[in-house]
Amino acid sequence: MPEWLQVLLPQYTAERWMLAVAMMVNVACGLIGCYLVLRRMSLMGDAISHAVLPGLVLAFLFTGSLNIAGMLIGAFAIGLLTTFLTQALHRQGNVPADASMGVVFTSLFALGVVLLRRYAGNVDLDPDCVLQGQLAVLPEFEVFGRSIPRAAISIGVVLVLDVAFITLLWKELKISSFDPALADTMGLRANLVHYLLMAMVAGTTVASFEAVGSILVIAMLIIPGATAHLLTDRLGRMMAIAAGVGLLSAYLGFVGSSQYINIEPAGLMAAAGGGLFLLAVLFSPQYGIVSTVVRNLQTSVRIIREDILAMLYRMEELGVVRRMGPREVVLAVGGTPAAALALWSLFRQRGVARDEGGLLLTQKGRERATQLVRSHRLWEAYLVEHVGLPLDHVHAPAERMEHYIGPGLQKEIAQRLGDERKDPHGREIP
C-alpha cells in the first residue's frame, strides 16, 4: 500500500473497518437522500427513521432474533405502511400533508415503543446506542476466514441495493422528482415510484442505525444532497457530489473523533457534513452568499464605470473646457467606495487618462462612451415615439437601460426608429 494512503488511513484493521462502514453508510444515505431533498420531503426522512421502530420490533418478534435480514424486511414493510397511511390521512381524511405525516410517524413510533416494552422487554436498548450508534463496537462475522463486522455486510448490501435501485429506476425517479404529473402522463407511475423510494429510505435508515444511530441518520440523509444541490444543477453530478460529501464527512468525523476528541464519531460526522454544507452556502459559485455579494459588487462597479465614461463624453460634447479631477469625478457618481473602485478600474483598462488639467477620455474610452450615449438616446427616442412616455420621464429609464443594450439591440431599435438622428431632447444620436 502506498505510503500516502497508509498515513491517511487509520492504523488498525478494526478501525479501518469502522471507517469503511461509516463511509458506506454516508454514501448510501446521501445518494438516496438526494431524492428526498429534490422532492422537498426531507422531513419524511426523519419521519420514516422513527416510524420504522414497530417494524423492527415486529420483525424481532417474528424471527426471534436481531437478524438483519428480518430487520430490513420489517423496515421495508413499515416504510410502505407509513407512506400509505400518510397518503390515506391526507387524501381521504382531508388532513394537511405535513400534519398527516406528523400524526402517522409519531403514532407508529409510540406504538413501537409500547410493543418493545411489552413484548420484547429484555432486549438491550441502550439510549446512547439508539441515538448515536455504536461504531466502535460492531459485532463481527467470519467470512472467508476474515473477521468482518456484521454492520459492514448489512450496509454493504443496502448500498448495493440503493445503487441498483437508483440505476434501474434512474429515468423514473428523475422525472417523477421534477414533474410528477408529467411522469404520470408518460405512464411512469409516479405514485409507485414514491412508495418504492420510501421503502428504500426505510431500509437504508435501518441498516444505518447500528452505525450512526437513529437521529443522526437524518443528517446523513439530507446534508449531502442539500450541499450538492447548491453546487450543481445536474442530477448526475449532484449524486456524485453527494457521495463525495458523504465520504468526506465520514472521513473527517472519524479521524477527528479518534484523534482529538473522545466521542462517538457519528456526531462529528454530522458536524463535518454541516461544515461542508456551510461552505457550500457561502462559496457555491452560483448560489453562494459570498459569490452573490461579489457578483453584485462587480455589476455595481461596471455600471459606475460606464456612468463615468458617459459623463465625460457629454462634457466633451458640450465643449466644457474645465476638466474634472479624479476626486470630483468620484463624487459626481456617488462618492462611494465602489465609485472609487470604478475609477481605478477605468484607469487600469485605459479608458481614461490623466494630465495636469484633469481627466480625459482615451480613444478606447471614447468609443465605449459613444456606444453608451447612443444606446441612451436611442432608448429615449424609442420610449417617446413607440411607448408614448412624456419627455421628462425618459431620461431616468434610459440611464438604467443604457448599460444593458448591446449592439444587436441597438440595431433593432435604430431600425424601428427609421433614420432618426436626434433624440427627443434635440441632441444628436452618435
Binding site: 381521504q92 394537511p96 409519531t106 413510533f109 415503543v113 409500547v114 439508539v130
Partner: protein
Amino acid sequence: MLSIIQRQESAGGTSGLERYTLGQAANLTRDDVALIAVVSVVAAAIVLLLYKEFKILSFDPDFTQTQGWPVLGLDLAMMGVLGLVAVVGVKAVGVLLVPALLITPAAAARFWTDRLGRMLWLAALFGATSGALGTLLSSGLLPDMIGFDPLAFGNNSPLPTGPVIVLTGTALFLVSMLFAPGRGVVARILERLQVRQKVNRENLLRTLYEFSEPALPNLPGVQQRRLEEERSWTANQARRLLRWAESEGYVELENGSGRLTNDGLAKAAAITRTHRLWELFLIQGAQIASDHVDRDADAVEHFLPQEMVEDLEATLAAQGRLPHLPGDVPVSPHELSAHAGTPADRAGKEPGDA
C-alpha cells in the same frame, strides 16, 4: 398550535430508561410538575395576548406585513413559545414524541370547527385529555379505579407513559377524523350518498318527462325496463326510485311501468327545463360539443341555485335564445305554451300554476 400539557400524576412506572428519548412522565418530581405548570401558564398567556396577531400571521403573512405588523418579531414569538412548550414536553414524553403532542390534538380539533378560537380550546382539551388518560392507562391504576382492565393485557407491568399518551391522542384523532360532523369521513360519505340519491331521483323524473314528451298532454306509462336501459340502472335501483316517486305522489305505478301524475309532471318539467337551459348554455355559451353536453348538464343542473336559473333565462331571452326547442315547451306544457319565452311570466309563477 399549542397544546397545553396537563399536569400528570406521578405513578410508579418505567424506571430510568431513555429519559431523554422517551420522557419520564412517570418519574416527575413535584418541582418538575410545578415547572411544567408555570410554563404552560406562560405559554397560554402569550398565545391569548397575541391571539389576533398570530391569527393573521398564520392565515395571511403577506397581509400581515402590509398592515405593518412586525412579522419577524411575531414569528420569533411564536417559535419561542413553541420552543418553550417543546422543551417542557421533552420531560413528559421525550424528544421523539413531542411532535405528537404538538400536532395530533390540533389536527384532531381541526375536524370539529372552522373557527380558530374554538380550535385552540378543543386542542387544549384533547391534549389534556390524552395526557390524563394516557397516564392513567399506562400506570396500571385504571383497572383499580374502574374495576376492569380495558386494555386486557396479560401481565400487568406498567407501560411507558409517553408513548401511551401519544397513542391516546392518536385515538382521539382517529375518532375525530371519522366521526366529526361535517368534516369527518363518515359525514362526508353520508353527504355524498345523499347527493347521489338526489341526483338519481331527479334523473328519474326527467327521464320520465322525456319519454312522456312526445305524447303530451297525455301522460303515458313508461316501462321500468326502459328506464333501466336509458339510465343504466339495475332493476333494484329502478324499482326503489319508482317507489320513492310514488310515495311522493309524482308517479303512479301499474304493472311494472310508471306514469307521471300532474304533480310529477310539473316537477319533472321544471327539472327538465333547468337541464335544457344549462345544455343550451354550454353549447352556445361555453361551446362544448353537443354530444358532450348531456353528461355535463347532468352533473351541474342539480346544483343550480334559483337565482342562477333566472339569470340564465334572462340572458338567453335577451338574446332571443330562451329555449323554444322544436315542438317542445320546457315548462308546464299546458297553459304556459302561449307565454313561453318571457322570463317575467315565468318568474312569478310556480310551474303548474294556472
